[in-house]
Structure formats: structure tokens, C-alpha cells
């Protein structure tokens, strides 16, 4: 067996302005990963050798959407919004954890947003936010739980990946959704078309 293997992702759509999107997305992803804490940096565990510099995810064009105001958020009271569109599985939550979380924005870096569907088999996590543990779940289908202070990582359960995190930016009092980390359940691509 020779080592002819190509990059795992080969589904870019022709016509996309790859370079500029890549740049844009890297900025936003890094923003997400570094804004939660002064000390966190990115480590690409999965890339080796020459491929190290590659961006693993396909570059896509996420909309910038106003989803709420900092001043209207209360600790542990999630607000629902749709992102990146109004289609299936777009329901998401915006929540002020009251404690710093990975990718959090706002003065206390405690405002985070996540998709509302379990990344195992699509159970709705709506209504499962737990203030005591800052978590989503247990999913009614197979009991997966997710830690919202840690980028939605699986605490326990069946899900194959973290619950997708919605990337946020702040402009004054406005909170904007600007991108996503992770594939939304049910979709083959986060953006339709």
C-alpha cells in the first residue's frame, strides 16, 4: 500500500473563493478558541507532517446574524434563535453561563451559543439546559450530555462529536452569530445549497 491518500475533504464547491474564506474562517475559529481564556491556543491533534498547516474544515460562507443583546441576557436563561438559517435543525440556544466558558463572549466571557440537536441521532436538546452543571442533555433518545463550558464536549453518552458551537461576536451591546464549529445533525453541510 502506498501513501497516495488525499485530504479527507474533497467536496469544495467550484467557484468558491477558497483563499479568502479560509482566511476568514481561521480568524473566526481562532477567535473562538482564544476568546474564552487568555491561555488557550489551538493544537491540531489530527494533522501530521506536511498537512499540518491545512484547515481541516471545508470553508463555508456563514451569515452574520444579530441574535440578541448582552443587556437582555440573564444568567442560566437560554434564549432560542435560528442559525445559520431557518431550516431543519437550525434551532440554537444563546445562554449566559454566569461562569467563563470556552468561546464565551461578553465582559465575563460567559455568553455562549450552541445548536440544539444531539450529534448522535438528532434528539432535540431544547429544554435540557442545566444551570448547575452548565450542560445540555440528557438527550431523550440515548442520554448524551454536553458540557457548554468546554465547547460543547460530550460529557457522557453516544454522540460522535461535540454539540456544534455557534461562533459569536460582540459589537457594543449586540451579539452576532458569525459561524459554526462542527456539523449540525441531519445535514451533510451546515449551509444548504
Amino acid at each position: 500500500m502506498t501513501e497516495l491518500i488525499k485530504s479527507k475533504t474533497s467536496t469544495e464547491k467550484p467557484g468558491d473563493d477558497l483563499a479568502s474564506h479560509q482566511k476568514c474562517m481561521m480568524t473566526r475559529r481562532q477567535f473562538l478558541l482564544t476568546s474564552g481564556t487568555a491561555t488557550a491556543t489551538v493544537m491540531l491533534m489530527m494533522k501530521f507532517g506536511a498537512a499540518q498547516a491545512a484547515v481541516p474544515a471545508v470553508v463555508t460562507n456563514y451569515p452574520r446574524k444579530l441574535i440578541g443583546k448582552l443587556s437582555s441576557l440573564q444568567n442560566d436563561k437560554p434564549l432560542a434563535f435560528s442559525y445559520p438559517d431557518d431550516g431543519d435543525y437550525a434551532e440554537s440556544l444563546l445562554v449566559k453561563l454566569g461562569t467563563e466558558g470556552g468561546g464565551g463572549v461578553g465582559p465575563k466571557k460567559d455568553v455562549v451559543a450552541f445548536n440544539y440537536y444531539c450529534t448522535h441521532q438528532g434528539g432535540s436538546l431544547d429544554g435540557t439546559y442545566k444551570a448547575a452543571t452548565k450542560s445540555l442533555g440528557a438527550c431523550p433518545l440515548h442520554l448524551s450530555t454536553f458540557d457548554l463550558t468546554r465547547h460543547g464536549i460530550v460529557i457522557s453518552g453516544q454522540a460522535y462529536q461535540s454539540v456544534p458551537q455557534v461562533l459569536l461576536e460582540i459589537e457594543g451591546d449586540n451579539i452576532y452569530a458569525v459561524g459554526m464549529m462542527g456539523l449540525i445533525y441531519g445535514r451533510n453541510s451546515n449551509l444548504k445549497g
Partner: protein
């Protein structure tokens, strides 16, 4: 500061309409969920999101429980030398096992295990290697095999077959286990042989064996059909999750009352408690008193299943009757020699039970730390008739039970199972849930008479291979698909022996010449040292990385066509779907090459189908007998694999039989007294045996046995935490399979669990000033190691206190570091770690002292001190680990 972070993809390719589809099952836990592999060349166009554009015939986004593909389910592999996309997803059409396409986090990320040099699987072993000048260097198969064969022959000829140790996985596919055991047991005929999870080749559940219960008699349906389900020593959600989510969770939601017992609560435990169930929170090794107390409450109230006992439990005469059982020369016989276990039936057992101090509610509660109210409640739930009707009760056991007081606990649970009528009927079964899948097929018998181990009574017991090695008797150690050292108790003491015998021996290879290399290794063996051969898919540390002189690269799941059964004896084909890396070869092939070079006959297989077809006749009479699949196949001009492949992910449950019209019939459950078999007996080469409709005992009825606490209590009292010590137990966690050989190469799993952890109760943590995220040292100065192979003469020669008194126990220091997780989900006074982290192995702190009756280790009951040594990088960063409790519902 940086910690592992996996940036997930937000898009995934879909298989096109013309993608090839192959069936397989998950490589990991006992449940063996059915999976489908979709494969298409990277040069071809991938599928689209419309139903008419993809192989699933689904419009994306798909509905919940639909044919979704997570990015972790896609990979690019080589097939026939050309790069192909593969998507490995649960089979959503399946009506068995993972009904509707359920899956675990392990199986759901199977694609990530496939070799792809762009991923952390890049370090797969690809060529044989020989350690020359201190370094493992790639060599050719011929070079490595010639050396291995010559040294092997020399060791056997000059030091005897028992100097040749084979330590192998028991489960990694029937084709391989048959070849390995044929080599070790039939050809070499060494007693220095055992499997990955025990120092001696002995039964894992002696009490089950003697009561007449097959370990895997139950069907998954039985766990769901039970009205009351008692899960002891496991939370199936944490260890075999699809069994819980596809079978037990729906049953509980439908009204099943569930109970769990053990020191640690996890998501399944929390779900049980929230749905009218009960968690019996016991400290390690205290199951026996609790089970006896439950039994006592049941019989004192007359809640036992009298009809069942009358018809299906041996009385005095039945207990002593029968050739090959009773008082005759069998393992059961010597276990009963000293009158410790055998009873004259239910009334005799009851009389014994009522005399036991530990069966008193107050005593059992004190020993176990579980409240009297809970123990009483458990007895009521398990056996008290409701409106005059007995509940249908099933009992599921696993390692938390049988690896903490191996013989005592399995006897106690068997007796409880018998009196509540668990066994032999739909929804009323007693069985193991299982750990790994059932992929063992023996190609030779264990030569017990050659074992030096003699226990009191007349019997020999299988050799304790670790103790034999530590004593310097093993001259060649051949480890196949197991870490050996971290998997066994007293890890660090065992590693010391490997260092002494292998690394510190003066005879090290400093030559390029084949004959000089052979001569050096022979001198090593002759000088009292040890040669190490290791066969695996990755270079494991230390068995491969530090100790192996010769390394053979193995091909595995997906790289060869294999056969295996799951926890309900369901046989399936695991199809090859991509090329093995480099020159890696399946284990059966490696064994055959080595065996032929050593002059053994009967290894001329051309492919894995040849091996399974040769092995099938030896499966007859076993719980997963598959011989009739071959008979059916040959009748139809097919191979075994072709025939079994027709059953897809559904497979067929063993033992298999064939009807007159040639159709194969499986076996839903063993010991099924409701099953009607042909009255005129088996036709043709079909086999009808006792285990299908009766129990595995001398009469076909159950043996109800005593479970004396005194055989174990001195060890338990010794291990019991002193002063500032805490109990230390270990077990599986859902996200990691076995030693984590794949998971540490799945970036997301690495992010979730970058290293081993220790769960500590908040009250204990507070006393020691420990918080979640702190790095702690878990350590002990008194890990007991049993030394010396002694001949047991008197009844108590192998009793722990006698071993101590007679100087056969020494005490070692041991320590592992871990990340603290402070959680009330672990019982106060107990700590819990993942059982097999190769860098931070919990077994280092478990005593290397075997159960005196069975010869198994009691892996789940150690004790240790714990102290903070600093703060980890995971404490204040947010990318890796989680300290949230696993009991959120």
C-alpha cells in the same frame, strides 16, 4: 498553554448511488452493533443531498435516527491499491442488536480507526521488526520469522514447552484465536498459556459454572422482557451503551424496575434511579454479604420461587450424582472437596444461609456501606409477589462483581438467581452482560496436567503465567494483541521482572547476521533471561516498545474477513473493506508461517475462510456452535463466509442447527426450558445438547451453592483502607475501548480524555485539599504480590492469611498519576479510575494475588492514598476534558 483540541469539520461527503456496500459489525464492545460500510473511489463523484443523488435514498437533512453521516464516520483508505472514500455508519435497517441504527461513541467513530497516514493512525505497524543495536528496525517477514522459529524451537527443546509463554487476546476473531490456540496448545502444548484478562486459563465465573449457568445464555430481548432487572457490577450504559439504550432504556420507560449495584454511579445508574429503580452503593468486594442478606430476606419471607426450586434445583441426590460432576474428578469436584460450596439442595442451603453472620442485614450493611433500607428494598423488588404474582426477574453480572471476589461473589449471585427464578425462561435469565465480543475458538486443549500449580484436593490448576514469569521460568514470552503488563495486577512489579529478564540481560542483539542474532537470543534464554515476541497493530509501550526483540505487524478489523459472535451468541461476518497497511498480516497467517517453520503440520491455510472452515467442527457443542453454517454453505456450493454473509448484520445466534430443508436455525437463549427440540434427537450432524434446554450441570438442573465469606474476608480486611487510604477500583468508561489503542488516535477522544482520571467523592477530596482538575498521585506502599509456586496440601494453604504467614506474600510500592474529578457519583471512601490507561495504569495498585479457588485476579478492589501534586492544564482551560458529572439526566 495548549491542550488537545480537535476542530470538527462542518461538511461531510455522502456516498453516491453506485457506492459499494458491505456489512460488518463494530470492532469494540460485546454488543457488536451492525454497521454498513459505503465505499467509492476518490476519483468518482460523491453523492448529493437529494434522495436520488445518494446511496441512502434520503433527502438531507435527514430525520432523527436517520442515515446521517457524522464527519467522524468518514475516512479515506486504500482499496485494491487505490484511494477510496469510506463511510462507516450504523445499519438503520437492522431489527436486532442496535435496533434502528443505534450506535455508541466508540462504534460511531469506527471510520477513524482505519489506517490513513494523514491521521494519527500513521504509526500503524507495517513491517516486522527486530531489535538490533537497541533499536527496533524494519526487516523482512522471512528474516523475522526465521529468527523467531529458530529461537522458539531452541527454547522448547532445551527448556521445555512450559518455558514458552503465549499470552493472547481471547476474542479478536475466531479465525485468529483458532490459529493461535492451535499453535500454542495443540502444537507446542504449553501450560504457560493464558488470555489477555487473566493470569491463568481458567473460568472467569466459577460460581456460574458450578451452578450450571452459561455466561452468555441470555438474549438481549430477555434483558428487555424482564419485569425486574438486577445489574450487578456494571452500568451497561457506561460500558456497552447500545445494550442499554436499545433494550434496557425502552424497557424501563415501559415499566421495568431496574436495580444496579456497585460503588460508582453513571448515566445509566442515574436513569434507573430517576425511573423508580434503585442503586445499591457498595464498597468494593462487599457484594457477597449484600447478596446473602438479600437472599436471607427473601427466604425469611418465603418469597423464593418454590416451583422453580422444586423442578429445577438439585436436591441432595442430584447434587452428588452424575459422571463427570459431583464427587468425581472435575474442577467442580475439587472446589467442593473441602465441603465449602456443595449443598444438599435448597433447604440445606437455606439452613447454611441463616447461620451466616454476614447474611444479617445489619452486618451486610456495615461491611458494604449500603443502607439497610436499600438492601431490604432490593429484596422486595427482586422477589416479593405483587398482587399474588411473582415478578419476572433477570440478573446481569459483570466484572465489578466477578473481579472483586471471584468465586464468592459468583456463587452468591448464582444462589440469589436461583431463588428468584432467574434462568431458563424468556425475560427470566441470569447471565453476563459481557465486555469484549466472543471471538474465541479453541484449536487445542489446555494441558492442565503439565501445570505446576496444584491446589488443595487432588486437582491441578492452570498455571499462573505471571507468577511463573516473575520467578524466572519463562524463557520466551509471546504477547499477541495485549499490553500484558498494564492489563495485569501489580503492573509495576511485573514490569520490574520484564526489565530484569529482558533488558538487563547481557545477551542483546549487536549484529546484522541472522545466525548471530539467533545465537544471541538463544544465549539469552539459556542464561536465565527471556526473549520477547510481540504481535500487534501498534507498537505498545512497554511490551513492544521496550521489551520486544521481535515485532510482528498484524492486520485487523476491516483489513481481513473475519467471524465473531456478540453477547447473545450472534454470529456475523466482519468483511474486509480496505488494504492492510504495509506488510501487516492477519494473526492467523503469522501463526501459520511461524508454525510451519517450526515443523508443525496443519497450518496450510490459504485464506481466513479456510481457517474458519477447519475450526467449525470444534465449535460443536459450544455456545456459539457454527458448524452447521459450514455444512449449509457446502451444500449450496458456497464458502462459510459467503453463507454467513447472507445473514448480513442480523447474523444468526449460536448454537446453530439445520432443518431438514437445509435452512439454518439459531438459538435465542440457552437453558431455554420453553424450547421444544426434536424428540427423536438431532438429525444428521446436527447436535442437540443439554445447554439448549437445560442447565450446564450434571443433572441439567441448577446447583445451589454456599458462598462462604471466610475464604475471602482476610484479603478484604487486608485491602480495606487504613488511616488515610481510600478504596481504589476501576472500570470501563464509555468513550474508551480497552487500552485506548484506537481512541488515543481518534482526535476527538483524545480531546475528551487526554489522560487517566480518578473520581473522588467531595467529602474525601475536601479532606485532602483536592479539586477537579488537580493532578494527583495515587500511591501505595503495600500492594501485595503473591510469589512462589507452591503445592497446596492443606485446605487453607492458599488462604491469603496462610500465604502471608508462610512468607509467600511480599509488599511493593506502586503509584500512578491522574487528573482528579471530584464528584458525588462515586461512593464516599472509594476512588475510581479508567481500568486500562497504558501510561497511568490503575492495575499497578491492585494486588497480584489470585482468587484462591479460581486463579483469577480480583482487579476491582485495591486501596491507595491520594495527594495533590499540582494543577493540570485542564483545570482552567476549556478545550479538553470535562469535569461535569456523568450522572446528569
Amino acid at each position: 498553554m495548549s491542550t488537545p483540541y480537535y476542530i470538527p469539520e462542518d461538511q461531510v461527503p455522502l456516498p453516491p448511488k453506485n457506492a459499494e456496500v458491505l456489512t460488518t459489525a463494530c470492532d469494540y464492545c460485546i454488543v457488536a452493533c451492525g454497521y454498513k460500510v459505503y465505499r467509492w473511489p476518490t476519483s468518482a463523484r460523491s453523492g448529493g443531498p437529494r434522495a436520488n443523488e445518494n446511496a441512502f435514498n434520503e433527502d438531507f437533512p435527514v430525520g432523527s435516527m436517520g442515515w446521517w453521516v457524522a464527519p467522524t464516520q468518514h475516512n479515506v483508505v486504500m482499496h485494491d491499491g487505490k484511494p477510496h472514500h469510506v463511510v462507516v455508519v450504523p445499519d438503520h435497517d437492522t431489527e436486532v442488536v442496535n435496533i434502528g441504527g443505534d450506535s455508541s461513541i466508540r462504534g460511531g467513530t469506527l471510520a477513524g480507526k482505519c489506517y490513513n497516514p494523514e491521521t494519527p493512525t500513521a504509526d500503524r505497524l507495517q513491517t516486522p521488526m527486530i531489535r538490533m543495536y537497541g533499536v527496533l528496525m524494519p526487516v523482512s517477514w522471512d528474516f523475522a520469522l526465521d529468527i523467531a522459529a529458530e529461537v522458539s524451537k531452541h527454547v522448547i527443546k532445551n527448556h521445555g514447552a512450559n518455558a514458552y509463554s503465549v499470552k493472547t487476546y481471547s476474542y479478536q476473531y475466531m479465525e485468529n484465536t483458532y490459529a493461535i490456540t492451535k499453535f500454542a496448545l495443540r502444537s507446542i502444548n504449553t501450560a504457560n498459556f493464558t488470555f489477555h484478562d487473566t493470569p491463568s486459563d481458567v473460568t472467569s465465573t466459577p460460581g456460574f459454572r458450578d451452578a450450571g449457568f452459561d455466561n452468555f445464555g441470555a438474549a438481549y430481548k430477555d434483558w428487555a422482557d424482564a419485569e425486574v432487572l438486577f445489574m450487578v457490577g456494571t452500568d451497561p450504559y457506561e460500558t456497552k451503551s447500545a445494550l442499554f439504550t436499545s433494550h434496557i432504556k425502552p424497557a424501563i420507560e415501559g415499566g421495568q424496575k431496574a436495580l444496579m449495584m456497585g460503588p460508582r454511579a453513571t448515566a445509566g445508574t442515574a436513569f434507573v434511579e430517576n425511573n423508580g429503580g434503585l442503586w445499591l452503593d457498595t464498597v468494593p468486594g462487599s457484594d457477597l454479604p449484600v447478596l446473602l442478606a438479600i437472599s436471607r430476606i427473601i427466604v425469611e419471607n418465603g418469597w423464593e420461587d418454590s416451583d422453580w426450586i422444586k423442578n429445577w434445583v438439585n436436591d441432595k441426590w442430584g447434587s452428588s450424582s452424575g459422571f463427570g460432576q459431583g464427587t468425581r474428578n472435575t474442577p467442580w469436584q475439587w472446589r467442593t472437596t473441602w465441603g465449602k460450596f456443595q449443598t444438599g439442595g435448597f433447604e440445606d442451603w437455606k439452613k447454611w444461609l441463616l447461620k451466616q453472620d454476614v447474611s444479617k442485614l445489619s452486618v451486610a450493611s456495615k461491611i458494604s456501606g449500603c443502607s439497610e433500607a436499600k438492601i431490604k428494598k432490593a429484596a422486595e423488588m427482586l422477589a416479593k409477589p405483587v398482587n399474588g404474582k411473582r415478578p419476572k426477574t433477570s440478573i446481569m453480572i459483570e466484572k465489578g462483581l466477578y473481579w472483586s471476589n471471584n468465586t464468592g461473589n459468583t456463587n452468591a449471585i448464582s444462589a440469589l438467581g436461583i431463588i428468584v427464578g432467574a434462568g431458563g425462561r424468556p425475560g427470566q435469565m441470569i447471565a453476563r452482560a459481557g465486555g469484549h465480543q466472543r471471538g474465541g475458538q479453541r484449536g487445542g486443549g489446555y494441558p492442565r496436567n503439565k501445570s505446576p500449580e496444584k491446589v488443595p484436593g487432588r486437582r491441578k490448576r492452570a498455571m499462573d503465567t505471571d507468577r511463573y514469569l516473575v520467578a524466572g521460568n519463562t524463557r520466551l514470552a509471546y504477547a499477541i494483541g495485549t499490553t500484558w503488563i498494564q492489563s495485569m495486577c501489580g503492573t509495576q512489579g511485573l514490569a520490574d521482572a520484564f526489565n530484569e529478564l529482558v533488558v538487563n540481560n547481557p545477551h542483546q542483539i549487536r549484529s546484522y547476521d541472522k545466525q548471530e542474532i539467533i545465537d544471541t537470543l538463544k544465549k539469552r534464554a539459556d542464561s536465565g533471561g527471556m526473549v520477547v515476541m510481540n504481535q500487534d497493530i501498534y507498537l505498545r509501550d512497554p511490551i513492544g516498545a521496550r521489551y520486544a526483540d521481535i515485532v510482528f505487524p498484524a492486520a485487523t478489523w476491516g483489513e481481513e474477513t473475519f467471524t465473531r459472535a456478540n453477547g447473545e451468541r450472534r454470529l456475523r461476518v466482519y468483511n474486509k473493506f480496505y488494504d492492510a497497511p504495509g506488510q501487516a498480516k492477519p494473526d492467523w497467517w503469522i501463526m501459520a508461517q511461524l508454525a510451519k517453520r517450526m515443523g508443525f503440520e496443519g497450518f496450510d491455510w490459504k485464506n481466513s475462510n479456510d481457517v474458519i472452515e477447519e475450526s467449525s467442527r470444534f465449535s460443536r457443542g459450544g455456545r456459539k456452535a457454527f458448524h452447521m453454517v459450514k455444512v449449509a454453505a457446502h451444500r449450496e456450493g458456497k464458502t462459510f463466509h459467503e453463507k454467513l454473509n447472507e445473514y448480513g448484520t442480523t447474523g444468526i445466534q449460536g448454537p446453530t442447527m439445520m432443518r431438514e430443508d437445509g435452512k439454518l436455525v439459531g438459538t435465542v437463549r440457552l437453558h431455554d426450558i420453553t424450547r421444544k427440540l426434536s424428540e427423536t434427537g438431532a438429525a444428521g450432524i446436527n447436535m442437540q445438547n443439554k445447554k439448549m434446554t437445560h442447565f450446564n450441570s450434571q443433572t441439567g438442573k441448577c446447583n445451589i451453592q454456599k458462598a462462604p465469606w471466610g475464604l475471602f474476608s482476610d484479603y478484604w480486611e487486608f485491602i480495606k483502607p487504613k488511616k488515610d487510604e481510600l478504596w481504589l477500583t476501576s472500570g470501563r468508561i464509555n468513550e474508551i475501548w480497552q487500552s485506548g489503542f484506537d481512541d488515543e488516535r481518534k482526535p476527538y477522544m483524545r480531546q475528551r480524555w487526554p489522560e487517566n482520571f480518578v473520581e473522588i467523592h467531595p467529602a474525601d477530596a475536601k479532606k485532602k485539599g483536592i479539586e477537579s482538575g488537580d493532578r494527583v498521585m495515587v500511591y501505595s506502599d503495600r500492594v501485595p504480590y503473591q510469589k512462589d509456586t507452591i503445592l497446596g496440601i492443606e485446605g487453607d494453604d492458599f488462604q491469603f492469611s496462610s500465604l502471608q504467614k508462610n512468607g509467600h506474600i511480599e509488599y511493593g510500592k506502586a503509584a500512578v498519576t491522574a487528573i482528579a474529578i471530584v464528584t458525588p457519583a462515586i461512593k464516599e471512601s472509594v476512588m475510581f479510575m479508567n481500568f486500562l490507561d497504558t501510561k497511568q495504569p490503575a492495575n499497578a495498585l491492585q494486588g497480584r494475588v489470585v482468587d484462591q479457588i479460581s486463579g483469577n485476579y480480583n482487579y476491582k478492589m485495591g486501596s491507595a492514598k491520594v495527594k495533590k501534586i499540582g494543577e493540570s492544564q485542564y483545570k482552567d482551560t476549556f478545550t479538553s476534558m470535562s469535569f461535569a458529572p456523568r450522572t446528569i439526566t
